[in-house]
Each structure stands twice: as structure tokens, then as C-alpha cells.
Symmetry: C3
Subunit: 132 residues, 3 copies
């Protein structure tokens, strides 16, 4: 079943840890072995998996993306968020995590982040659990 998670972001660019909410959805699905798709139905936000322990890792990811794709670069799209669209495509709109013994098989340091690039906004994240 397709579940929807609601996330309110607070900055223009931000990585929001949604691991616990996704884990809850996997648990309530009662799927023991399978895969979990985390999907962002937006075009100026994405999703990524990276280190959850040190918040500096999140900061580095966002700052380096900003160096590579600056907000005030030369773009044609007139809404002032062309960089956000490009960053969303670089990270991607989904991540997949294997499920084993009814839990996400994340590595020790891994967390799942909604990647906001044009906030603050109300965002949705779709979670589809497949398996048996």
C-alpha cells in the first residue's frame, strides 16, 4: 500500500531526516522481506541517503551543491528556482532500501533525508513497501 508522509521544511535548502517515519511505515506494513521505495513527488526537492550522525555532513552536501549549482547562476526558467530543479535531478526523486526481518537494511551510519531545495514548503513523501 502506498503511504504518504507529510514534511514541513523550514529553510530554502535543508536535509530533513525522515528515517524513523519510513521505518514505522515498514513496520506497520508487516512485510518481512522485500524493498521499500521512498519517492518524492516534487520537482524542486529530492531524496538521498547519507550519514545521520554528524550534521556537518548534511551542511557540506548542501554547500557543495550550492557551489556547483548556484541559486544565482545563468538560467532560463524565470521562477528563481532553476537551481532547485537541477539539484533535485542530481540527487534523484527516489531511494530504495532493502527490507530484511521486517526492518530497513540501512547501514550503521545511514539515514534517509528529504532534500529540500526551494523551501520552506509543505512536502509529501510517498512510501511504497513491496514484498511478503
Amino acid at each position: 500500500m502506498l503511504h504518504t508522509l507529510h514534511v514541513s521544511t523550514r529553510s530554502r535548502a535543508e536535509l530533513v531526516d525522515i528515517t524513523a517515519q519510513v521505518q514505522d511505515m515498514v513496520r506497520s506494513s508487516e512485510v518481512s522481506e522485500g524493498i521499500c521505495l521512498v519517492y518524492v513527488p516534487h520537482t524542486t526537492a529530492g531524496v538521498t541517503i547519507n550519514e545521520g550522525a554528524d550534521p556537518d555532513v548534511r551542511r557540506d552536501i548542501l554547500e557543495q551543491l550550492e557551489r556547483l549549482v548556484p541559486k544565482d547562476g545563468r538560467y532560463h526558467h524565470l521562477e528563481g528556482n532553476a537551481d532547485a530543479h537541477i539539484k533535485a535531478s542530481l540527487l534523484g526523486s527516489s531511494v530504495l532500501v532493502p527490507i530484511s526481518d521486517g526492518r530497513l537494511s540501512l547501514g550503521t551510519w545511514q539515514a534517509i533525508f528529504l532534500a529540500e531545495f526551494d523551501g520552506p514548503r509543505s512536502r509529501k513523501v510517498l512510501v511504497q513497501v513491496m514484498g511478503g
Copy 2:
């Protein structure tokens, strides 16, 4: 079942909207709840999800990728398309979209694009629909 979509690209770099064709394959699969894998079996093309309404978004994505990975950069691969290989890895070779009520659960502004980086060429896109 694995379906094949044939796409003829017309430029060296181009984002081709394939949403309608993928949606048709989902419909004909009669899967009501599940996931749809869109897979590009090439190494100088990729696939991405982004805004379909304003063609300037596509243009901005391609132009910024060209600034980050210029065609005439310093590369070892001798076929003149090293940049295309690198761009393909940055976007990725697949996207996944949840299926609900027999339809792709795309966001309002989302479209699925074949990302051509070494065209014009005849490309294949594989579509695998999973679920029940």
C-alpha cells in the same frame, strides 16, 4: 513483463518526455498497486524526473550539466563522449515511480525524461511493472 520503448533522439543532448508511453505500459500491465521501473540500457544516456511544463527547466538542466562536465574537458576515453558517460552516471540509469489505482503516482509537475547525452541516436528504454 519487461516492455521496450524505442526513442529516437534528435540532438547531442536532449531531455525527451516519455511519460505518456510509460503510463500506457502501466495501464496495459493491469497492475493496480506496485512500482514501475524505467531503465535505460545505455552508458551515454540516463533518465530523470523533473518538471514537464516549462521547457526552460530542461534547458537549464542540460546547460548546467554541460558547465559541470564540459564536452571538451580533460578526459582519457578517446571516443569524444567521455562527458556523456559522466553525465549518465550523475543522473543515473533508472527511475522508479510508485503505482496506485493503476496509474503512476507522479506529482503534478513531474514528467519522466530520457536524458540523451551523445545523440542523435536510437535508444531503448526498458519498463518493468511489478505488483498486483
Copy 3:
């Protein structure tokens, strides 16, 4: 069933071809039609699909990523591997490949690579085969 592949990397940055091992896991799963998820449970390594024939393609991918996200850039994370975290998010922590007739539906030139960005290390790759 979730399978684990062990890979020893030998350099700080390296693309290790794991196609044959993943193909073996697909074969032993006896799944004829479905999808194969290749998942890296690390935050300074990723996974990508690209050309396997010419090793220069791998070299170009790694060198261009190093130009875009240099090891000695301006970062906050203090472990000396901030660049590796960022590169991992750019490539992503998983790839998916369709399975048809019991085999990975890779394109002629495609290979699956573990992308090491903070080696040498012992890495794990999780492989989940879904289908019937």
C-alpha cells in the same frame, strides 16, 4: 532473499566491477522475471552503472567527480572524507536492473560498479532479487 557481497577496495577512489557476482546471485535466486536491487549500506561509497569495456571511462568518472568535489575543498565535517560523502550522494546508494529470462537486462556496454570514495576498505553490497 537478501544476499551480501563482500568487496575489498584497494585505493581511496575506485570503481570496482561487481557485475559477475550480482549476475551469480540473480541466477541462484531462480527468479525469471523481476528486478534486482544492488544496495550499498555505506555513506562514503555508492554504486553506479556505466561502461565496463574501457577502463578510461571509470578513470574519467572518478577524475571529474574529484574536480567537482575536491578532497581538499572547504568542508565542516572533520574526518577528512567530506568529499566522499558528497560524491556518494551524487551517484546514489543503489541501482536497480530489470531481470528477464533469469538474467540481468544490462545493455551491451553496461557494468555495475561499487564506487569507493574513501578506501581502501572492506565494503558490503546488499543484493535483493524480487519477482517470480
